[in-house]
Symmetry: C2
Subunit: 371 residues, 2 copies
């Protein structure tokens, strides 16, 4: 019966997520399940919120993990803030910007977009021009575009929006825990992340935070949030206050795991964690370039945790990824959309971001790419 | 840092869920994480679908776990089938019927209801009368009403609906794995469950199944599903076919755990599992009655896995539940809504449903209720 699970072996996860999970987090994950209204579980929830506030550099009270994966975080931010006809500007330079447009459109928003080449960052000057011509209820951007490895200028766009009355919505799924995220200083109003990237917790939860301005917009809605499961007006009654109100049964064990994963990051120190990602990234890029490979993204815009490498002419994408997985037990990611078969995506996320892992993937790639 | 988790001790979970988790399932939960596109993980997914089909007695190809808790399953069934203005009849005799009404209303459905006393079952005769007067696109009911402990006549309502053209939507969150669910034989078109009740897997996933008729309704929609995260037209491309298309990152470790939990049930044999629930239920009721306590629900409509017991006059609800939790390490559930402080809900779900656990809760209640 159990054969399918016993066939699963430790794999070095260097794709776009999930990343490798620390032993302490597996241990937390399999801590005995207790009730979702148990005072000891409420204690874990309260601590977890504080850890998230520390990681996001925010004082927002509404800072909680949603009971779904990162994409449920995206859905949460839009569905709580958008009412039919609301104007939304989405800045797009990859798959996850495209996804934002789709999510907002389905909710009846009037979506405008500003698109940039995949592999290039959002241009702040272009955004400034666009904002001069129109007002939007929401302006949305992806911090770390997982499909290309580009870091978007989230702080600079936030500065443009200050005082504009627009709500600033940012995807930090891949950035969170790998590069600094300054929610309050950058003026972000609604933010979501995922657990399976630089937080190195298995996939299944989506940290979300709302500023007071976002909460006011939520309270000012003329109709109920059209999604019972993700309605923050109800969910906050379970996550806050002296008397907790049952909404849905919290994913207890996943919350244990996220709690422990965040504790590991905070114990190591945020600066040390970011430095570890940066060091591994430099070592990886330098190793790849020594092998004659080239990066998709120009140096100033590169993410440390997601490295898009051009596949050399004549090299079979799938053969290389299969050989890495089957012969070397290393997973790297394929390209998405227009970058399919054009790039590999090598992740250096969270627990995976160790120099020995960089050495291992470079050696394996070198072997597999031998003619 | 880890103090909050180390304070968590094994607790006998006899509330309305989560239930106790078997050691094999904790072990599966902490199996090493691999990628969501890894062929070995796809193998686990394929097996898990077959297990669910066996448990549900269905041949529906679209039988998968959604990446959220049971309430996300409810949201999934409604959001994929309802378009604004669609007529929906919800049969209500507890919290979860009320929740269905709320979910469907938020999606713009024209919701009609038929309400019954909490603690009594849905009346088939009343439903028949109602259906004679109107046609509904969807008729929805809860199989096992977790808030009251009532078993609703799902097979009989299904027989009424046969050939009517209505889609039959059933909540099996609490019934699944504790009493038989015959999806195909009963004519159910859309069904959802949860993992943390009689499947005895930690909370976090929601099994969902759609019949061919439900799929046709999904394909006939005039507009996109207004929920990207739960859109089955996209999610099935990840769960089916020879070439899997990434939608969102599957909650890998939770899926391992559900796979293992289902394997345990199928290994034990469905009939044996249902018999175990029935035996424990009888023993519990007889023990409670010997102590002078009485049940909320009349015998023919009682669920084995959720036992609503009237709180005797003059007994302090919270004192008893706290004493059970703190002094005896047993969790039982409080009443909800109009039944708050009027009943306790004693769960006998999945791995929890063992005679020794029944003896333990009876002995503990006896001690705590001593004047």
């Amino acid at each position: 019966m159990n054969s399918r699970l016993s066939a699963i072996e430790e794999t070095l996860l260097m794709g776009p997520g999930p990343s490798c999970v620390a032993p302490e987090v597996y241990e937390a994950l399999s801590t005995v399940t207790i009730g979702h209204m148990d005072p000891r579980f409420i204690g874990v929830m309260d601590h977890l919120k504080e850890y998230l506030q520390t990681l996001l550099n925010t004082r927002n009270r509404l800072t909680i993990p949603m009971s779904g994966t990162g994409s449920a975080g995206m859905e949460t931010c839009f569905v709580n803030l958008v009412e039919p006809g609301d104007s939304v500007l989405v800045l797009i330079n990859g798959v996850f910007g495209m996804r934002m447009k789709d999510v907002a459109s389905r909710l009846g928003a009037s979506v405008d977009t500003l698109e940039f080449e995949w592999g290039s960052p959002v241009s702040v000057a272009d955004v400034e021009k666009k904002l001069a011509g129109a007002h939007y209820k929401i302006v949305a951007v992806v911090h770390a575009e997982t499909s290309t490895g580009v870091r978007n200028p989230v702080a600079e766009i936030g500065a443009l929006l200050r005082g504009s009355g627009s709500l600033y919505l940012v995807d930090t799924v891949t950035s969170l825990g790998g590069i600094p995220v300054e929610m309050d200083a950058w003026g972000i109003d609604a933010l979501y992340g995922g657990t399976q990237k630089c937080l190195s917790c298995p996939p299944g939860l989506a940290p979300v935070s709302f500023s007071d301005r976002a909460l006011e917009a939520l309270k000012a809605r003329t109709r109920k949030v059209p999604n019972w499961y993700l309605d923050l007006t109800m969910i906050t009654q379970y996550w806050e206050g002296s008397k907790r109100v049952y909404h849905h049964t919290a994913p207890v064990n996943m919350i244990y795991a996220l709690y422990r994963a965040l504790a590991l990051i905070i114990d190591e120190g945020l600066e040390n964690v970011y430095q570890r990602h940066a060091t591994c990234h430099k070592k990886l890029v330098s190793g790849l370039e020594c092998m004659g490979l080239s990066m998709l993204v120009a140096p100033p815009y590169r993410l440390p945790m997601l490295n898009a490498v051009r596949i050399p002419d004549g090299v079979d994408d799938e053969r290389v990824r299969s050989a890495l997985l089957n012969e070397h037990k290393i997973e790297i990611g394929a390209g998405l959309g227009p970058l399919a078969a054009k790039v590999w995506r090598i992740g250096l996320m969270g627990h995976t971001a160790r120099e020995r892992n960089v050495e291992r993937v470079l050696a394996a790639l070198n072997t597999v790419l031998q003619p």
